[in-house]
């Protein structure tokens, strides 16, 4: 369906950001790559404004937490080029204690609430965001509830642990 292939897209990105994109994969045909905090805004700007790619639609910003990794907090962007009908997923991983990201609100107004939601649940500090407050949780909440250290259920409960099922 899409007018350009993932390979062409990746080549376009690599021509400008050769050493800055890593961990390239294509789960279910969706090009996924990783970049650094320093390069993310440049990369997003390039994807949005490049005449051939035109990723004008910011589908989503969210985050994920892998507590056992060296860089536990990942911020995940989904972009969509409506012109070429192709999607891309970009990840940036951040070390604990330094969960700061540059904001994408300068590129898309819609990033505003998406980043507020990400801040609310994962504590990602989007620098330059015009109004970084909690959005769904109450203002005086002190934790970031989607991080894995906050279990939903009683942590002493063992009947649902994966190791009972051979995992």
């Amino acid at each position: 369906m899409s007018k350009i292939t993932n390979e062409e897209l990746l080549n376009g990105i690599k021509a400008k950001f050769d050493n800055d994109v890593t961990n390239i994969s294509e789960p279910f045909g969706l090009l996924t790559l990783e970049t650094s905090r320093e390069k993310i805004i440049d990369l997003l700007t390039f994807l949005k404004t490049d005449a051939a790619l035109q990723f004008i639609f910011l589908t989503d910003i969210t985050a994920i937490h892998y507590p056992e990794r060296q860089k536990p907090i990942g911020i995940i962007y989904h972009l969509h080029s409506l012109v070429n009908n192709i999607r891309i997923r970009i990840k940036v991983f951040l070390a604990d204690g330094d969960v700061k990201m540059p904001t994408a609100t300068g590129l898309w107004n819609g990033a505003n609430w998406m980043e507020r939601e990400t801040y609310d649940f994962f504590g990602v500090d989007f620098e330059g965001h015009p109004d970084l407050r909690r959005i769904l949780n109450v203002d005086d909440m002190t934790v970031f509830p989607m991080r894995k250290e906050y279990p939903l259920e009683d942590p002493n409960r063992v009947d649902k642990r994966d190791y009972f099922f051979g995992r």
């Binding site: 994920i64 937490h65 107004n109 819609g110 649940f121 509830p145 939903l152």
Partner: protein, 403 residues
């Protein structure tokens, strides 16, 4: 964004007043709060507060096996719960690589388009109520009831449907369901025609809605709008056409597009989408006749719950039942994004799986949440009465807004 000029004469004696619109105001049709600063009846600025019915679905989902997440998706956009259910099922099926029989695809199209109609009935009916015409709303409500009776025939429930299963449907459509669908197809067009006749060329309605809250395509895209709102602004983005799922590529339908994104355009786009949905249901029914009538789910015993009689009498069925309920089946370690065209826009599911019994991370891209963030900025300079109908035509559903 085209905002009305805010009247400021820099008179130090001008006093602004503050109005709490919501959280339980009858005109907001849901739990939304907007703290408005007013100059007379004009809005100078507004701050939206959301999260009143936040239920932490993404967190809950991390503790549930896949099939138990379907009831959570019901409670996102509860005006068109089946689309959410199907979207979730298709996400899991994509993750697991399940091949779905054509007949199931067509059955899903019927259910999804019916629920798109009910969602648009509510939105456009309520828009009529807010502009002072109650008749259309009550008249159309009867047909929502008819659709809910179809759901009852198919799955047994009405509002939060939990319809279908991973792999297909829990049971086949019975002949009463088909009869009710055909009856709906026969009766609804006349009512929709009357509904359009009541509003489309109605002077009062046009005066209240035309050029109100007009949005340019650039602004709509910048705010990541999707669905009827984006199409009313002139961008022909429809997930069903761009990335067809559930065999939508085999269907013949059109994507209605507006011109200036005002409330009137959104109303017309939604009405036209109802006509297109009727076309889709009609085609799906015709396609169903060519398929074997006893297939209603994919052959995936390790993910599709067997019927209860078999669980009690058949060894394999009992084993599979146990494995599914306890979440004991290995799933791929990968991530998947799948989106469907919800009634309000692109409803996306981002699922990161670590092979355990429940998702490692599940994120819902909720169109209401993303569409609603333009509300406060675009209300600047608007009259309160215009801001009210603007909110109705955004069709923000509190459940989807807050997840």
């Amino acid at each position: 964004m085209r905002t009305h000029p805010v009247y400021t004469d820099n008179d130090p004696q001008t006093e602004y007043s503050t109005l709490n619109l919501g959280p339980t105001h009858p005109a907001t049709h849901g739990v939304f709060q907007n703290v408005l600063t007013l100059d007379g009846e004009r809005i100078v600025s507004g701050v939206s507060t959301i999260g009143y019915i936040h239920r932490a679905f993404e967190k809950i989902a991390e503790h549930r096996p896949f099939y138990q997440i379907t009831p959570l998706t019901d409670r996102l956009n509860y005006c068109s719960a089946p689309i959410n259910n199907m979207g979730w099922h298709m996400t899991v099926e994509k993750l697991l690589g399940i091949k779905i029989p054509k007949r199931v695809d067509y059955m899903r199209v019927i259910v999804m388009e019916l629920s798109r109609i009910t969602d648009h009935i509510i939105c456009n009916g309520v828009l009529g109520v807010d502009t002072g015409a109650f008749t259309g709303f009550l008249y159309m409500m009867k047909f929502r009831e008819d659709v809910y009776e179809i759901y009852e025939e198919i799955c047994g429930s009405r509002l939060t449907t939990n319809i279908g299963r991973i792999g297909g449907f829990e049971r086949n459509f019975n002949h009463i369901a088909f009869a009710k669908i055909r009856k709906f197809l026969k009766e609804f067009p006349a009512a929709l025609k009357e509904f359009e006749a009541l509003f489309n060329r109605n002077r009062i309605f046009i005066d209240r809605t035309k050029d109100v809250a007009a949005v340019t395509a650039e602004d709509a895209l910048s705010y990541s709008w999707s669905g009827p709102l984006l199409r009313a602004a002139g961008v022909d983005y429809d997930v069903r056409a761009m990335e067809p799922y559930s065999s939508y590529e085999e269907f013949d339908f059109e994507v209605p597009v507006g011109s200036n994104g005002d409330v009137y355009n959104r109303f017309l786009v939604r009405n036209e989408e109802m006509w297109q949905s009727l076309r889709l249901i009609e085609q799906a029914l015709n396609k169903l006749e060519k398929e074997p009538s006893d297939i209603f789910h994919a052959d995936v015993p390790e993910f599709y719950l067997p019927p209860k009689e078999e669980v009690y009498n058949n060894m394999e069925a009992l084993i599979y039942h146990f494995k599914i309920v306890m979440g004991e089946i290995d799933t791929p370690h990968t991530e998947v994004y799948h989106s469907v065209e919800g009634a309000n826009g692109e409803l996306g599911f981002y699922l990161v799986n670590d092979g355990g019994r429940s998702p490692y991370r599940l994120h819902f891209r909720r169109p209401s949440f993303i569409n609603y963030q333009m509300y406060a900025p675009m209300s600047r300079g608007m009259l309160i009465s215009d801001a009210i109908i603007n909110m109705s035509s955004l069709n923000v559903i509190a459940g989807e807004l807050d997840a």
